[in-house]
């Protein structure tokens, strides 16, 4: 609708209103623009005069059938109310007072105006990339991470040991069992039994300081040696029952009918 309006050359537009309403960012912005036309310090501005300017402006826009955003109309209605309140006799003024409302509006305009000026001054500063330039291709400071390698001597030798253990051909060493051979037992029992005239326990023929792992082998060998010597008729063996101690003594032919047999 607005487009049709502006494209129709027949309709004369008042020079003030050739600017689209898109130009303002809301009613406060428009009010500030109008206030600046009063060409006085914003602190001195007449809110009543400003209100009349705004209402007149909106009115002419309506005559042009410009489509106005709702907030412009809300502001117009509020200003119309403010205007009438300001013109009322004092005693009939509502609360809050129209003076306070006017002051609020004035303060808001001052604040918006201050920020608008501040923005302009900020943008006018010497800005990097527009007014001042850093080097376009700085070489840059380099941070080189230098590795501090950690390893202990133990790690080193343990690792080497593991490599060797892992990769050396596996050699199976069969441990040499601690044994007393039969020949050795026959020699020993044969020589000792001659010294024993009476029955003597088999264990007594074992070497006195023998290691425990070797003791069983010595016992077994000595027993087999005793059997062998008995077979040769060199000694006699006696046992009272199964698992009972085994006794040996030198063979005595004249005692063949000994009391114990």
């Amino acid at each position: 609708m607005t487009d049709e309006l502006f494209s129709a050359p027949a309709i004369p537009a008042p020079h003030q209103l050739t600017v689209s309403f898109d130009h303002w960012e809301g009613p406060l912005d428009l009010l500030l623009s109008l206030a600046r036309t009063q060409k006085v310090d914003l602190r001195e501005i007449s809110i009543l005069a400003l209100t009349q300017q705004y209402l007149a402006f909106i009115d002419s826009a309506r005559q042009l059938k410009l489509e106005l955003a709702a907030d412009y109309l809300v502001m117009a209605a509020w200003l119309a109310y403010l205007k009438s309140a300001l013109l009322l006799p004092r005693q009939e003024q509502p609360d809050p007072s129209p003076e306070e409302l006017a002051l609020r509006l004035q303060l808001r305009l001052q604040r918006l105006n201050a920020m608008r000026d501040a923005a302009a001054r900020l943008m006018a500063r010497d800005r990097i990339g527009r007014d001042v330039f850093p080097r376009r291709a700085p070489e840059g400071l380099r941070l080189v991470k230098k590795a501090q390698w950690r390893a202990s001597l133990y790690d080193l030798i343990a690792t080497y040991g593991q490599i060797r253990a892992r990769t050396q051909p596996v050699v199976h060493t069969i441990a040499v069992r601690p044994v007393m051979t039969l020949d050795e037992a026959i020699r020993r029992v044969g020589s000792l039994v001659g010294a024993a005239i009476d029955w003597t326990r088999l264990e007594s023929f074992l070497p006195p300081d023998i290691d425990p792992p070797k003791a069983k082998s010595a016992l077994a060998s000595s027993f087999v040696a005793a059997l062998e010597l008995a077979k040769q008729g060199r000694l006699e063996i006696q046992q009272d029952g199964i698992f009972e101690p085994i006794y040996l003594r030198v063979h005595m032919p004249d005692a063949a009918n000994g009391p114990l047999l």
């Binding site: 004092r90 920020m115 501040a118 900020l122 700085p138």
Partner: protein, 197 residues
């Protein structure tokens, strides 16, 4: 003005020359060590380069070399043209800078219009504005503040350097309207308009 530059000064000069970003004194010390008086050296360098084609400046506690502003016309290139900020974005940036930290509602109260969705995004994308936590009021609104890059870009040593900020503060123009009205309650300034009427 300077006679023979010592090695410490030369090291600081070279470090700032090759740096890709402005450097804090701590960052400079990582390179040049602790052997000299850094702040005196930075001052000496800054004095040495004052008035030359290249200046040493401090922005938000960080130092960098940049060309002198009056030479912009010979150095500016077509592709340097920055996208122009919209008026809304410029005003919003100014409001954040002068009032920080500030919520979106507070920005809207000053501008009298809603902050369009893209406005804060543009400022944050430029690296000038950052969210700075939440205000501990109902709704816990997000609040915004400016960044170090903002100060650097606009050539400000600190927020105290914002143009006119002291005058604005003294005039109460950085206070909200309600606060300003309370302050005026005693004074009977309220008469003005009534008299005009």
């Amino acid at each position: 003005m300077m006679s023979e530059p010592d090695d410490y000064l030369r090291a600081v000069e070279a470090t700032l020359f090759v740096a890709e970003t402005p450097l804090t004194p701590a960052e400079i010390r990582l390179h040049v060590g602790e052997a000299g008086d850094l702040s005196a050296t930075l001052q000496a360098l800054s004095d040495h380069y004052a008035g030359r084609g290249v200046n040493l400046v401090e922005r938000a506690g960080r130092w960098h070399f940049q060309t002198a502003p009056d030479l912009a016309h010979i150095l500016r290139r077509e592709k340097d043209e920055q996208r122009k900020l919209s008026r809304a974005a410029m005003e919003t940036l100014a409001i954040i800078a002068y009032h920080e930290p500030v919520s979106r509602a507070e920005i809207e109260a000053i501008r009298g219009v809603q902050v369009a969705k893209g406005t804060l995004d543009v400022l944050m994308e430029a690296g000038w504005v950052r969210p700075a936590g939440r205000r501990e009021v109902p709704g816990r609104p997000l609040i915004y503040a400016t960044t170090v890059e903002f100060l650097t870009h606009f050539g400000l040593s600190s927020r105290r350097d914002l143009p006119g900020i002291e005058d604005l503060r003294a005039a109460g123009l950085l206070d909200p309207v309600d606060l300003a009205l309370e302050g005026m309650a005693d004074q009977s300034v309220v008469e003005n308009d009534a008299e005009d009427a």
